[in-house]
């Protein structure tokens, strides 16, 4: 249950991050070069896929009636978190998802 909440949020963040990096302005902000078009497209596709996975986990956690409501909240808050992180700690914003897997594993084993 708790692991599902976390996974829902983590995939929402990952999706938002990918969509954000799919925008030229933010890709340049981090890597100081223009992203190739193919990379931008795949980032966007990956972003939407990840948001879809987030919905799946929200539904796992809350059920079909409440899941979508929680999903919208997760999308907004993960996007807002990313927004606040980007200008101050841009590298952290990108590498943060690497920490998700261990946290998720920890929650699953503990609960």
């Amino acid at each position: 249950m708790l692991a599902d909440f976390f996974a829902g949020w983590a995939f929402a963040y990952l999706g938002m991050l990918a969509l954000c990096q799919g925008l030229e302005r933010h890709y340049k902000q981090l890597w100081h070069k223009v992203p190739p078009v193919s990379l931008r497209h795949s980032l966007r596709a990956a972003g939407w896929l990840s948001l879809g996975l987030s919905l799946y986990f929200c539904v796992q956690a809350w059920g079909w009636a409440m899941g979508p409501v929680g999903w919208f909240g997760m999308l907004s808050l993960s996007g807002f978190g990313l927004l606040m992180l980007l200008p101050y700690r841009p590298r952290l914003a990108v590498w943060l998802p690497l920490g998700f897997a261990p946290v998720w594993a920890m929650i699953t084993t503990l609960t």
């Binding site: 902000q29 809350w62 009636a65 409440m66 409501v69 999308l75 907004s76 807002f80 101050y88």
Partner: protein, 512 residues
């Protein structure tokens, strides 16, 4: 002069936003606090002990008390402890004239708890603004319409909706305020629209009474009666004549009700000890999205036979209840509550950034304004301080008042309210007297310190401050919010960044 659509929308957004923004901030902030109304209520009742009574044990405790002390009452009510509240209450009388007492779960006797406005105050205040009668509800409705207008006009005038979806450029004065305002509005747009619209829809009968007037001659009772579907299949006609008869064991009924409806919130018994006794069992509100106020199962009080089940709502009623339920946020447990709370706080911040933006944009032009103009902007600045920093101060002041006022004080709840409104009024006086930035700094700082001091206050004024998780949670949350307020205070104290020439800005972006 003819204006473009964007220009007229910008005018509407600026001035309409200013007019409704102040009270909307008040509504959104207290509404966000109301998400945790029960937890704050537990904090404001530090006498309530932690316990692990099951529903059955709690009902037994309450029934023993009622049998011993109120055997002749026509109506017994028991409000059960549940996940969010440890309070066990027993009451007699109807909904209006009822008298209720809190029971000690260990001894079953009356537990003296302090009189307080309780966490419910934030809930009531966010849609009545403490105004008499329906006045507040009408005003809040008008403000919600204003919020919708501001949202729509805001979307129209936002030129780079998707391009600046994730854009926030801090430490650039007006630019940063606009970025923060835009991004928090856009990223949380689903929440803004949902919470505003559903808030309006809750009171649809009050705001749009025409249909009720036409169909039911304005008779509200008849209207609400018609919302119930045809009498439930299980409805059974029972003899009216009554004699003494023992009450059926409630335990098995509780188990049955829990199986059908989920966690329970209370039990009502009409005519206890009579042959026509009836038992009604109610679920807590959060078992589904739709608001289930007034729903429940009824049982014969002597035989234990089920008289009516949780009725299926008509689809029109269900629609309304689901929309209302989305606003009440009782469903989905604590994770959902946190989502609503944080979203609500960010919404408040979004409104706040808009209000600040109004003044930041005009500050450079103040000097060239006429005398009346200068007075107007001075007033706007002062009200901004009072509404944002002052309200935070008043809210935390209410909690301090709850612990510091003598427990035996007469009309203590009113005294607490006097603290709340007194602090708020003082903050207005302070904001009018002090220079703008000092006013911000001092009020934000004081509010932050009072938030951080909350655990200390509990430690010195309450016997077992952290007996309940919810109380600890309130204080931890206050610590986090207090830190943020102090951070805001520190930010305000920083010297104002002068506008950097354009070229240099571009260079800085490159470096970042």
């Amino acid at each position: 002069m003819k204006q473009t659509l964007t220009q007229s929308m910008a005018w509407l957004h600026t001035w309409g936003g200013l007019v409704v923004g102040w009270l909307l901030f008040v509504i959104f902030l207290t509404g966000s606090l109301a998400v945790f109304d029960q937890e704050i209520d537990n904090w404001m009742h530090p006498e309530l002990p932690a316990h692990h009574l099951s529903n059955e044990q709690a009902v037994d405790t309450a029934l023993n008390y009622l049998r011993a002390h109120k055997p002749d009452a026509k109506q017994w009510g028991i409000s059960l402890p549940y996940e969010r509240s440890p309070e066990l209450q027993a009451s007699t009388g109807g909904r209006r004239d009822g008298v209720s007492v809190t029971l000690d779960p260990a001894t079953g006797e009356v537990l003296p708890v302090r009189e307080t406005v309780g966490g419910r105050f934030f809930f009531l205040f966010h849609f009545t603004l403490h105004m008499p009668g329906l006045l507040g509800i009408y005003l809040v409705g008008a403000l919600a319409m204003g919020m919708l207008a501001a949202l729509v006009s805001g979307i129209v005038i936002h030129k780079k909706f998707f391009k600046e979806f994730f854009t926030f450029r801090p430490a650039k004065g007006q630019r940063s305020w606009l970025d923060a305002h835009n991004a928090s509005a856009v990223l949380l747009l689903p929440f803004h629209l949902m919470i505003t619209y559903s808030g309006l829809a809750i009171f649809l009968v009050i705001y749009m009474p025409a249909a009720m007037d036409a169909l039911f001659d304005g008779n509200r009772e008849a209207f609400f009666k018609a919302q119930d579907p045809a009498p439930a299949v299980l409805e059974i006609e029972r003899p009216q004549a009554a004699g003494p008869a023992p009450l059926v064991a409630v335990g098995p009924l509780l188990a049955k009700a829990r199986e059908v409806m989920g966690p329970l919130s209370g039990v009502n018994i009409t005519n206890p000890g009579q042959s026509n006794a009836q038992i009604q069992i109610r679920p807590i509100l959060g078992n589904r999205i739709a608001l289930t106020k007034g729903q429940g199962m009824r049982f014969d009080g002597v035989t234990g036979e089920q008289l009516s089940g949780p009725t299926e709502m008509r689809s029109t009623v269900l629609t309304h209840r689901v929309i209302s339920g989305l606003h009440f946020a009782q469903f989905g447990g604590y994770p959902m509550r946190w989502l609503y709370f944080v979203c609500g706080l960010i919404s408040s911040a979004m409104i706040a950034s808009g209000l600040v933006l109004f003044t930041v944009k005009r500050r450079r032009k103040y000097a060239s304004e006429s005398r009346a103009g200068q007075v107007f902007y001075r007033l706007v600045e002062a009200i901004n301080v009072t509404v944002m920093a002052g309200l935070s101060l008043a809210c935390i002041g209410l909690l301090w008042g709850n612990h510091l006022l003598p427990v035996a004080l007469k009309e203590r709840a009113d005294a607490e309210l006097n603290v709340f409104f007194g602090v708020w009024a003082l903050s207005l006086v302070h904001a009018l007297l002090r220079p703008r930035m000092q006013a911000w700094r001092e009020q934000l700082g004081l509010a932050g310190l009072m938030c951080l001091g909350l655990p200390l206050l509990s430690m010195f004024t309450v016997d077992r401050p952290w007996a309940l998780h919810s109380r600890t949670g309130v204080e931890l949350t206050a610590l986090v919010l207090g830190t943020m307020l102090l951070w805001a205070c520190w930010k305000v104290s920083q010297p104002v960044v002068e506008r950097v020439p354009r070229k240099k800005t571009a260079a800085m972006v490159e470096v970042n």
